[in-house]
């Protein structure tokens, strides 16, 4: 008993150094060496400022932007406090929230079915994606607000649509932050052309 107690203490110390410190430090070293961008969160820069991570969603509510899904993380897309809504299927709060979103979206684009991902919160509250249907739903509004043709906006959506990984895995999706940044840069180019 005494001997095994002593071993327990020594074993905890020795293995903590090996598995709790050396192992993660080695992984960090290798990760930083081989995949520096991925290991640091794929931060996106614009005009010298960091404007986000490629794989962390951001809130967009203005008419000129493609909107992300609703988010339950903090005040919305708080990447320091990831969270889902945890509302159950029979929650009146959930049903009311979806009803409000549906009313708003129907006013914006009457007669079209509303894709479910556009009115539900994600598990992380940081979902960087919407479905291709949810992007298509928003194309007319964004084109109108930006004075672009629907075809041009649709082409931008296609540029940021990811299909199934390796042809089978996951679900097809559109990266909202990248799409909106792309549209902003298109707008800038358009303005430059107009000035010239």
């Amino acid at each position: 008993m005494k001997k095994n107690l002593l071993i327990s203490i020594l074993m905890t110390v020795v293995t903590t150094v090996l598995f709790g410190l050396i192992y993660p430090l080695v992984v960090t070293g290798l990760a930083q060496l081989i995949f520096p961008d991925k290991a640091n969160g794929q931060l996106v820069h614009r005009n010298g400022a960091v404007v986000g991570s490629r794989i962390i969603g951001q809130p967009f509510n203005g008419p000129k932007y493609f909107h992300s899904r609703p988010s339950a993380a903090g005040n919305g897309y708080d990447a320091g406090a990831s969270s889902g809504s945890n509302l159950g299927p029979t929650s009146s709060k959930l049903v009311q929230r979806v009803k409000d979103s549906v009313a708003q979206l129907q006013a914006e684009n009457p007669g079209r079915p509303i894709p479910v991902d556009l009115v539900t919160t994600s598990g992380s509250g940081l979902d960087p994606h919407i479905s291709p249907d949810s992007a298509e739903f928003q194309v007319p509004r964004v084109a109108r607000e930006r004075g672009l043709s629907e075809a041009a906006v649709r082409a931008a959506v296609t540029r940021h649509t990811e299909g199934l990984q390796f042809g089978v895995l996951g679900a097809p999706r559109v990266n909202v932050l990248e799409l909106n940044l792309d549209l902003d840069s298109l707008g800038t180019k358009q303005a430059e052309l107009n000035q010239n």
Binding site: S8, V27, S124
Partner: protein, 599 residues
């Protein structure tokens, strides 16, 4: 449900099938101390550990010493984790300057991580420093898993050995499990995860400028929206986003491979930094099953009856497929209460019940993950179980209630399943009126009593503590987030998850209160250690017995009939114990949902 969804489930299933034999054989070699291709590097490291800790690797232990060593190690390492959390403010790698964790929460977390549960009553990104996550939490991800594997191996030796007094050496088994089985895979696997976008750094949290600054209602101290003197709501402008970082990949891989499940972030494997792509999702689900599936082969190999190993494997596979089918079907049907919303799946739209789910995974991968994480004692989640449809959420709950024996937690799934096997051959023996035998060992009253003890402790603590919580409005039901039958499901899930050492949650419940921290903390300790002791007692007793050659009256444990009997025993025991409470929770909610009732 879509063809592609089923294809993805089939791919995962085939990968698990494919890894069973090679990994099982490898583990048999490791614990029989035969040569492996990793010996050149790992043997010197192993010897160094024994020299530093004073372990005599030639020494064998009786079941009592084996159990005592395991308990001592768990207590010591649990105390160390408690202390690390309390003093993290003075330790390095704490760029967010997080303060020490309060006592009740630190106890809960220490109990939870040292028992392979990884129940988390806290939000990691605002509570735990990088040092605590690495040296405290990720460390226990390795060693609670290694201890579990050791226990399973001890049980297998109990069956395999004849007229022997000992089951092996706990220190050697645990060390070899961590060095040979866990470490090499995690080194490679964590880098694969990084290559897909799982972060691995020591950065302070990044602050980025939002592309479109947001106006949000200003909240008063009591949580109501503030109204200005002009009668209009007061708005705050949010122009920045804080992005939590950390050494995630090194913890992420062992989180699944060791069926631990404790997220680096609050959203666990739904967070894009923990699980960025469908490929990482596949890797993570595969890791959840790999060791447990392999151990079934190890059982067959070490006991000399591969057919028995595969018969057990088949029973597990049947229960897994049944569970994933129900969950996927229920989630794909969607929520009938959401009017005017398209929930039909197509090539450009995930469809189904998407509340609490990520677009990149869709419904199929969320259902698959939820089933896998509760078939085993993992408890990682890539979607919020609290927001699943009633039947979709019923399956994870029932999976844990059945004892997490569907492949099961690393080690714990194996010995949990062997308890059901003992019970099955006992029942078969009763039916034919002969003394039951199991792989040449007579199963006698002592073994069956111990098996029943280990089975009954589990529902006893779940139902008692959940019942206490349900009748107390001051400390029990006050933590519920959803009203109606769903609230009962939240409490029931919490105690089931803790006792089963799972760690997933119907996460709406506020479990960071003194009652829940302490009650759930003890629940995890009882669910692990009081279940393990009778299990080791059976193993010690079996090892002592003489071999009895099979005769015509022996019930064969290698046939499909045996697999079917095993499945029936598991389902009947589970159903008899938990059906009443399930009918008041998820089943009632299902009926009410289709009647259009909300709460």
């Amino acid at each position: 449900m879509t063809g592609n969804g089923w294809l993805q489930i089939a791919i995962l299933f085939l990968l698990v099938l494919a890894v069973t034999k090679p990994l099982g054989l490898f583990m048999a070699r490791v614990f029989n101390r035969e040569k492996t291709f990793l010996d050149r590097i790992l043997r010197p490291l192993e010897r160094l550990i024994y020299r530093l800790t004073g372990v005599d690797e030639g020494r064998e232990m009786r079941w009592t010493e084996y159990a005592v060593s395991m308990l001592l190690f768990s207590v010591v390492s649990m105390v160390v984790l408690y202390v690390i959390q309390r003093v993290q403010g003075y330790l390095p790698w704490n760029p967010q300057k997080l303060a020490g964790v309060p006592p009740a929460l630190a106890f809960n977390t220490a109990a939870s991580f040292s028992t392979n549960t990884n129940w988390q009553a806290y939000v990691p990104e605002t509570t735990m420093s990088y040092f605590t996550q690495m040296a405290g939490l990720a460390y226990h991800n390795f060693f609670s898993a290694a201890a579990g594997i050791a226990l399973a191996i001890a049980f297998i030796r109990g069956i395999a050995r004849r007229q022997a007094e000992t089951l092996g050496n706990f220190w050697v088994d645990m060390t070899r499990a961590s060095l040979w089985v866990l470490l090499p895979f995690c080194l490679v696997g964590s880098l694969v995860l990084v290559s897909q976008g799982v972060v691995q750094n020591f950065r302070a949290y990044d602050t980025v400028q939002l592309v479109e600054p947001q106006q949000v209602p200003h909240l008063n101290a009591d949580g109501t929206a503030a109204v200005g003197p002009d009668g209009k709501p007061v708005m705050d402008t949010i122009a920045q986003q804080t992005i939590a970082q950390g050494p995630v990949a090194s913890q992420e891989i062992i989180k699944e491979f060791g069926t631990n499940g404790g997220g680096f972030f609050n959203a666990n494997s739904a967070h894009p930094f923990e699980n960025p792509t469908p490929f990482t999702n596949l890797i993570e689900i595969f890791c959840i099953f790999a060791i447990s599936a392999g151990l079934v082969y190890t059982l067959g190999h070490m006991t000399g009856s591969l057919a028995h190993g595969w018969a057990v494997w088949a029973a597990m596979a049947f229960l897994f497929l049944a569970g994933v089918t129900v969950t996927y079907w229920s989630e794909a049907r969607g929520n009938p209460l959401l009017a005017g919303v398209n929930q039909q799946a197509s090539a450009t739209h995930p469809g189904g019940n998407m509340e609490g789910k990520e677009v990149r995974f869709g419904v199929a991968n969320s259902a698959l993950f939820a089933t896998a994480t509760t078939d085993t004692s993992c408890g990682a989640v890539n979607a919020m179980h609290d927001s699943f449809t009633p039947l979709g959420g019923l399956v994870p709950l029932v999976n844990i209630m059945l004892g997490e024996v569907i492949f099961g937690g690393v080690g714990s799934g194996m010995y949990g399943m062997l308890v059901f096997v003992v019970l099955s051959v006992f029942i078969a023996g009763l039916m034919v009126g002969r003394t039951p035998e199991y792989l040449g060992k007579k199963i006698e009253s002592y073994d069956v009593k111990m098996a029943m003890l280990s089975l009954l402790i589990f529902p006893l603590i779940i139902l008692t503590l959940a019942a206490i919580s349900v009748v107390s409005s001051s400390f029990g039901t006050s933590s519920i987030a959803n009203a109606g039958p769903h609230g009962l499901s939240e409490i029931l899930y919490a105690f089931t998850s803790a006792a089963g050492n799972n760690g997933s949650a119907f996460a709406g419940i506020n479990a960071n209160t003194n009652w829940y921290n302490i009650a759930l903390g003890f629940n995890t300790l009882i669910g692990r250690f009081l279940v393990v002791i009778p299990v080791l007692a059976i193993a010690g007793n079996l090892a002592r017995k003489k071999y009895v050659a099979p005769s015509l009256g022996t019930f064969p444990v290698t046939t499909p009939l045996f697999s079917a009997l095993l499945v029936s025993v598991i389902l009947i025991v589970g159903a008899l114990t938990f059906f009443p409470v399930l009918s008041l929770g998820p089943i009632l909610e299902h009926l009410l949902m289709h009647a259009g009732t909300t709460f």
